[in-house]
Subunit: 142 residues, 6 copies
Amino acid sequence: MTAGRVATVAPIAEAEATGKVAAIYADIKATKKIDFVPNMWRVLATNADHLELVWTRLKALMHPETVGRTSRLDPTTREIIALAVSATNGCAYCVNSHTAALRKLGTDVETLGEVLAIVGMFSSTNALADAYQIEPDILPPL
Amino acid sequence: MTAGRVATVAPIAEAEATGKVAAIYADIKATKKIDFVPNMWRVLATNADHLELVWTRLKALMHPETVGRTSRLDPTTREIIALAVSATNGCAYCVNSHTAALRKLGTDVETLGEVLAIVGMFSSTNALADAYQIEPDILPPL
Amino acid sequence: MTAGRVATVAPIAEAEATGKVAAIYADIKATKKIDFVPNMWRVLATNADHLELVWTRLKALMHPETVGRTSRLDPTTREIIALAVSATNGCAYCVNSHTAALRKLGTDVETLGEVLAIVGMFSSTNALADAYQIEPDILPPL
Amino acid sequence: MTAGRVATVAPIAEAEATGKVAAIYADIKATKKIDFVPNMWRVLATNADHLELVWTRLKALMHPETVGRTSRLDPTTREIIALAVSATNGCAYCVNSHTAALRKLGTDVETLGEVLAIVGMFSSTNALADAYQIEPDILPPL
Amino acid sequence: MTAGRVATVAPIAEAEATGKVAAIYADIKATKKIDFVPNMWRVLATNADHLELVWTRLKALMHPETVGRTSRLDPTTREIIALAVSATNGCAYCVNSHTAALRKLGTDVETLGEVLAIVGMFSSTNALADAYQIEPDILPPL
Amino acid sequence: MTAGRVATVAPIAEAEATGKVAAIYADIKATKKIDFVPNMWRVLATNADHLELVWTRLKALMHPETVGRTSRLDPTTREIIALAVSATNGCAYCVNSHTAALRKLGTDVETLGEVLAIVGMFSSTNALADAYQIEPDILPPL
């Protein structure tokens, strides 16, 4: 009556990784200060070019200090955006991953509740605005 | 060759509003410190009960000080969440509205760009995590 | 500063339609008791096989009496489902089309408001259930 | 090779609930005439204010008689809307919950099939209308 | 802490199928050259009319040669479209099903990675285009 | 009664572009063999780092020969994937842009119709698979 998620490809284990993949695995662990390679990266590694494209961009945006970039947002705000997007898309892996990241940054369960209350509310107003095809209040662009 | 958005109902103008609707219109303008009632609320007013339910919740979450509640998030973070949700849902009215709110709070065009860069990136990883049906890295709940 | 929707193909006008397309246009007008062919069908007509596949299915489900089928749902409930789906998907054309259909069936603006209030609320709880990855309450299948 | 859904927070058990949360738990069971608190509410209870905001709105819309409101829609239609939204959003918890509610209201498996056939068909036409950027058939608003 | 997917209806086993359902089951196995009826069809069979409507359309589009139709696309391209749509919708069943179909057609893991890299990238640009409400570059329709 | 899309930021015109932005504008025109910079890039240019991150990734995936990479997919298949994703997300700008690209590659209106027929059909089966929470047919990963 119940069945789980069924992965579509076999992830590349750390022990199997060589060359570019091994180097990126090492960079992921060092950059994120974790001692394992999350499933996301081990799956993307089935196409090494793709792994590199995704990691390069994520590193630049979420770990800007490692590439000499200055972010205008603090790390918690960046993870809140990631969680809001993931919840809106209903992406299970991503919701788990970004909730874990927020908690590591010190977000408690009540604050998480407030973030998600806002996510939930605007999911509602989004549906209503589309449902009524409400015209934008005209404002000059930024 | 081009046609615009077609509203499905006629909004209730401020001059037409009476009773509960008029009271909520006044509260919206006072709470948001604006001198007009945005289209969203004028459309919801076609069902006064619904207008009240949506406004009560939005006021509690986005203007907590007006109901004696203390938020764990600052106003800019709250609007960033709203924008991230709206962009992910592709809701035109909402994107315009929350971009305008952010700009009123002092967000400049480059910071907006960084917020949206993160929105865009995680839209991508969300699609990938779902596309590969990647298994969550198991972590205990918060 | 504003630009409209840009159609990607040129619709087939009624006067241009021949053969299978002309026959389906006539059937659409007769079945729906309208005196024009809505844009949706004129666009689908750019691939006549596709037009036929979509129209056949829609006719069976939304106009069951014309194919000798008995529906378990009344016409208003069927259009409410169509509107709920369209609003959730944020499909502009579809929201307009199904709102128009509901109104032709006698739905007034307050009832529309209640339908959409429910659509909006569950958009919110959907986002929350996904955001927390809430486990289903286990129940035996229907 | 398979892994399940991983909840992100620990729900508040009924035995642990106190104050506002305990009162809402009791109200949920009485209003819905069930003898357990569904997971949704036990998870939302991790932020008591949020639990209250969501329950208040859901109660007003889905159990209008308990707050002295008259609904223009019958209970089955209200749950059909909830299911249509949940299916469109692909929300697993919500699909299970609203299917269970419909079945409690007497909906059989064939009627469920017809509801979902309509959901499925308009998911298709929604994608097509967006894919072709079909212009709305212009109609005056409701 | 983990729970799986909970089916909402009991599928119709092959041994239970009679009449129209049995005939369609046989056609599915013959058309797809497989020796079992996938869960999708066994669930749709709970409403035999619905089963027929979905199967007829899918057969015409995905197995055109069986209905004397000539497709302008090759089978791998058709499955790639199916996978791109399914990944974008985050539909677990569908992602598994269409990945399996692609692999049967000879797609290897690196090519799958490239398909999904493109899916992931345009999920990102889609979110950005909506987030900024970028105006279409005006081009005449096809 | 109708209103268009309202851009949220002012795009950077070609004449205004300097430094990194000007160089990317030139690269976009050369790589895509077009004589104007599409709105997408002129808007992203409001945050030059973001423009670079998006362009680098798109160039690598969609114009692989310009970076010495060999693609396993032909250009038309790559654009079909882009269109399928864009239609599924309902992204107006993106649908227009990728339809234009396909047409430049020689896709005619009937082939476009077949692509979209498949997009539309699987939007439908996706909704159904989620609506019934159909369990995956268990298959070993690729």
